[in-house]
């Protein structure tokens, strides 16, 4: 099969540059406007940051699980999540502003306040600034190491075709999944749960994971569709692969709802004040409407739209659902994070847009810049033929 395996033209040359300019404008605008209200800036930044971080982390999980299960179907599209996860190094750099805004975001970082708060005093061995930074370094070190390992082996195989690389990736994937589970969970505890430091839920790691992996698969699909639009990967990623991605998306829509519902339901039913606190904040004022909006468009609508085989294989509809879910993931994170700042309802700020634009521009620019340098699919993966040949019966 002769398929173009390199980006060229607009997507390779101009697109990353345009994205970079957009990103710089966004970040500069956010910094200029944010000087007046630093707390708003850091909250807006955190939402957008988490949005892109969860996509990259989901992609890392996707790659690990493909190797762990020795998947054949996904080989042709695996380069896309590989690029997404390679952006984790960028996410480490973009984490610096959050460290600068610790005092605005996490009130447990204020020692004076902790002294007056019996609960925070108890949690201080875990929730303190030095340990927080140590943990963050540990998470990023493991993610970047894993992402590099899988990226390097996979792209090396493009040149050498060495089947042993597949075997060594399979081997590492088993340990990788353990490291991933622990770092992903504790990063969710650190960066999201500790925004409301009194509150606790054993499910938070799984909940953030569920949204992230779902959006990541949607993003994989969206990038593949974008490339397709420009004439790339039309044969390697065909309707059968979109169908399979669609099934995974459908499955994870249900999984996300299942986890979100279980967490809410158990807390609602038991009705213990120290737990209901979190949901009370998140449904006060028009946050309640917003929460219902998320349930409808993050679960109900995509569930019915994507239940049928036809919908998953109709690329136009597929694009629509994927875009909807990606947007909803942003809103969901907005709903998770923002009520800690604007307690009584949605308060839309220009900083929300500018921060998103900023990180979006830089993230996309780096992504496509790197994409231009490597083959668009794993050229010599031993299971490539299996991936190109399979058909959904």
């Amino acid at each position: 099969m002769a398929e173009v395996n390199k980006l060229n033209g607009f997507l390779e040359k101009r697109f990353p540059k345009i994205a970079l300019v957009v990103g710089i404008i966004g970040i500069c605008g956010a910094i200029i406007l944010g000087r007046e209200d630093s707390t708003q800036f850091f909250y807006s930044y955190l939402v957008s940051y988490l949005f892109f971080l969860t996509i990259s982390l989901g992609a890392l999980f996707f790659v690990i699980i493909q190797h762990l299960t020795r998947a054949g179907w996904s080989v042709g599209l695996r380069r896309i999540p590989e690029h997404l996860m390679a952006n984790l190094s960028l996410m480490a750099v973009l984490f610096i502003p959050i460290l600068l805004g610790l005092h605005d975001l996490y009130h447990w970082s204020d020692t004076a306040e902790v002294l007056h708060d019996a609960l925070l005093l108890k949690k201080a061995p875990f929730l303190n600034v030095p340990f927080f930074i140590v943990r963050a370094v540990l998470y990023f070190a493991s993610w970047i190491w894993l992402a590099r390992f899988f990226f390097k082996n996979s792209t090396d195989q493009d040149k050498s075709g060495d089947k042993g690389l597949t075997l060594s990736m399979q081997k590492v994937s088993a340990v990788a999944i353990l490291i991933y589970a622990l770092t992903q969970t504790f990063s969710a505890i650190d960066w999201i749960m500790s925004l409301t430091p009194h509150w606790f839920s054993t499910m938070i790691g799984v909940y953030i994971f569920a949204g992230g992996i779902l959006t990541s698969i949607c993003t994989i699909s969206l990038i593949a569709l974008l490339l397709r639009r420009f004439g790339y990967l039309r044969e390697t990623i065909n309707v059968e692969h979109y169908h399979d991605l669609g099934k995974l998306i459908f499955g994870f829509v249900i999984f996300w709802a299942y986890i979100g519902f279980s967490q809410y339901f158990l807390i609602w039913y038991a009705n213990i004040p120290e737990e209901t606190e979190w949901y009370l904040h998140h449904i006060s004022g028009n946050w309640n409407t917003f929460a219902i909006f998320i349930i409808v468009f993050h679960f109900v609508v995509p569930f019915f739209l994507f239940a049928s085989r036809h919908a998953k294989r109709n690329l136009k509809l597929h694009t629509g659902v994927v875009l909807l879910l990606i947007t909803m993931h942003f809103f969901e994170l907005y709903w998770v994070v923002m009520p800690n700042f604007s307690h009584h309802g949605i308060h839309v700020s220009s900083l929300d847009f500018l921060c998103f634009l900023g990180i979006f521009g830089i993230y996309t620019s780096v992504l496509f810049f790197r994409m231009g340098k490597f083959s668009l699919y794993p050229l010599k993966d031993p299971r490539l033929k299996e991936s190109q040949d399979f058909i959904n019966h």
């Binding site: 020795r70 179907w73 019996a118 609960l119 108890k122 949690k123 875990f126 050498s160 060495d162 089947k163 042993g164 597949t166 075997l167 060594s168 399979q170 088993a174 353990l178 589970a181 969970t185 505890i189 009194h198 606790f200 839920s201 054993t202 499910m203 790691g205 799984v206 099934k247 249900i254 299942y258 986890i259 279980s262 967490q263 339901f265 158990l266 807390i267 039913y269 038991a270 009705n271 213990i272 120290e274 031993p382 299971r383 033929k385 299996e386 019966h393």
Partner: protein, 462 residues
């Protein structure tokens, strides 16, 4: 780079060994049904049946005397019955996971295991249903659990997760039974066509529902199978989630934690797979099915045991961490009490059986050693029984008020009832092995290379 390539990633492990053709597969699977039952089968059946009689007499005694014959006390009002219920429902999770979820994930190796596991699922759910049924006290009004319109206008409490259990488990049972039966139809037709006696021909004929194996019939069959798989997949999650609600909706420390639903599901799959491995090792040995249930199948099963066991370990860890992190003294006490209180012995049995031993499956040597996996699979089920015991009993025995603390121990009736439930399970299972094909004949044929149109061309080198 010079690496020793131990396997070729572009090739898949063959699922069926021994060079059988299609007829050979049918002969092999049907043999235990057509041949005279071996001696060990009669002995095992007699033994299981006597345990079943033990169960029935214990139930009779319970109904005659009342629930007082059990070790329940105040504060531990949930004891063996709930523990056994959750234990058996958990075991009943492997079948549907293998037949529905692995089917949707195109895991072809499931074809050698699914029939067997589905049968086990159904029998395990039957065992499970016995316990809440006899736990209600006045068994003769057990039908109150169903929302049946009646003149007394007495309705069950729809807000109670115990009632949701009734719906969840009975739905699961119905769908699993349908799924199993639909899968059996083509194989029942094989048995009908091969039957040598009139009675066999009629009985298998009735249940084969006039299956002819025509093209149209297969098309409908495949469609029904896919739809049932799609219906059954969410049930794998829902049943044990709702079982976990029995505990988690309450305010009892140690019971109320948000990770319970997925954690229970992982634990259920863990124990179910362990039970399948235990039985598979025996069946493939005793009936000579090693070519169909190969080491590759067992290894796949063991990997899933390792994965789900690790998830269970993750949940234990998260519970412990959050109990500390919450800063809630009752929550923290519940977990310290588990590990170091009067039931510490049960807790450490649970941790070592569920978290430590399955980790041995990281080593390929252990994963592919029959004696090792046999022992570990049994250890896992011991551990999972103790997990339910630890959750149920430790939290109840020491709750908020130290003045009302107590200690629970089972009576001989509790122990005999539990033992008897194994009699029910194995009686059904042994009958299944003798009268129904333990492997899905038609599905196994579908994953053999001969089933694919271009196979002969490949062999001839075109």
């Amino acid at each position: 780079m010079n690496r020793v390539i131990t396997e070729d990633p572009s090739k898949r492990t063959p699922l069926i060994l021994g060079g059988h053709d299609f007829k050979g597969i049918s002969d092999l699977v049907v043999k235990p049904i057509e041949a005279k039952a071996p001696k060990w089968w009669h002995i095992a059946l007699a033994f299981s049946f006597s345990l079943l009689m033990l169960l029935l007499s214990m139930i009779g005694f319970l109904i005659w005397e009342g629930v007082g014959v059990w070790g329940l006390n105040n504060p531990v009002s949930w004891g063996f019955a709930i523990v056994n219920f959750v234990f058996w429902v958990g075991i009943g999770h492997a079948g549907t996971l293998i037949s529905a979820i692995l089917f949707l994930f195109r895991q072809k190796w499931r074809t050698s295991v699914n029939r067997f596991a589905e049968a086990m699922t159904i029998f395990a759910v039957i065992c499970a249903l016995v316990f809440p049924g006899i736990h209600v006290g006045r068994v003769w009004v057990a039908y109150f659990m169903f929302p049946i319109p009646n003149q007394m206008s007495v309705w069950p409490n729809f807000r109670s997760p115990l009632l949701w259990d009734v719906f969840a488990v009975s739905t699961y049972f119905t769908v699993s039974l349908l799924f199993w039966y639909v899968g059996l139809i083509p194989d029942l037709a094989v048995l009908r066509d091969r039957a040598k006696t009139k009675i066999k021909k009629v009985v298998y004929g009735i249940f084969a529902m006039g299956w002819t194996g025509g093209n149209r019939a297969w098309q409908n069959y495949e469609r029904a199978y896919l739809l049932l798989a799609a219906l059954a997949a969410p049930l794998v999650l829902s049943v044990h989630s709702i079982v976990s609600f029995d505990f988690a909706v309450s305010q009892v420390p140690g019971w109320h934690t948000t990770i319970f639903p997925p954690y229970f599901v992982a634990g259920a799959i863990f124990s179910g797979f362990a039970m399948v491995v235990t039985l598979m090792i025996l069946a493939r040995q005793l009936f000579g099915m090693k070519d169909i249930m190969t080491m590759h199948h067992l290894e796949c099963m063991n990997k899933i045991i390792l994965a789900t066991g690790t998830m269970v370990g993750y949940a234990y860890g998260m519970e412990f961490f959050t109990a500390w992190y919450s800063g809630n003294e009752y929550e923290a006490f519940a977990f310290v009490n588990r590990a170091f209180g009067p039931y510490a012995w049960a807790y450490w049995i649970m941790v070592s059986c569920n978290v430590l031993f399955p980790q041995l499956f990281w080593f390929k040597k252990v994963r592919t050693s029959i004696p090792a996996m046999f022992v570990i699979s049994i250890i896992v089920n011991i551990g999972m029984w103790f997990e339910r015991f630890v959750i149920t009993v430790t939290s109840l025995s020491r709750d908020f008020l130290p003045s009302s603390w107590g200690y629970y121990s089972p009576t001989w009736v509790d122990l005999c009832t539990f033992l008897g439930s194994f009699g029910l399970f194995f009686t059904l299972f042994l009958l299944f092995l003798k009268f129904l094909p333990m492997i899905a004949i038609s599905e196994v044929k579908g994953v053999m290379p001969e089933a694919h149109a271009h196979d002969h061309e490949a062999k001839e080198g075109h």
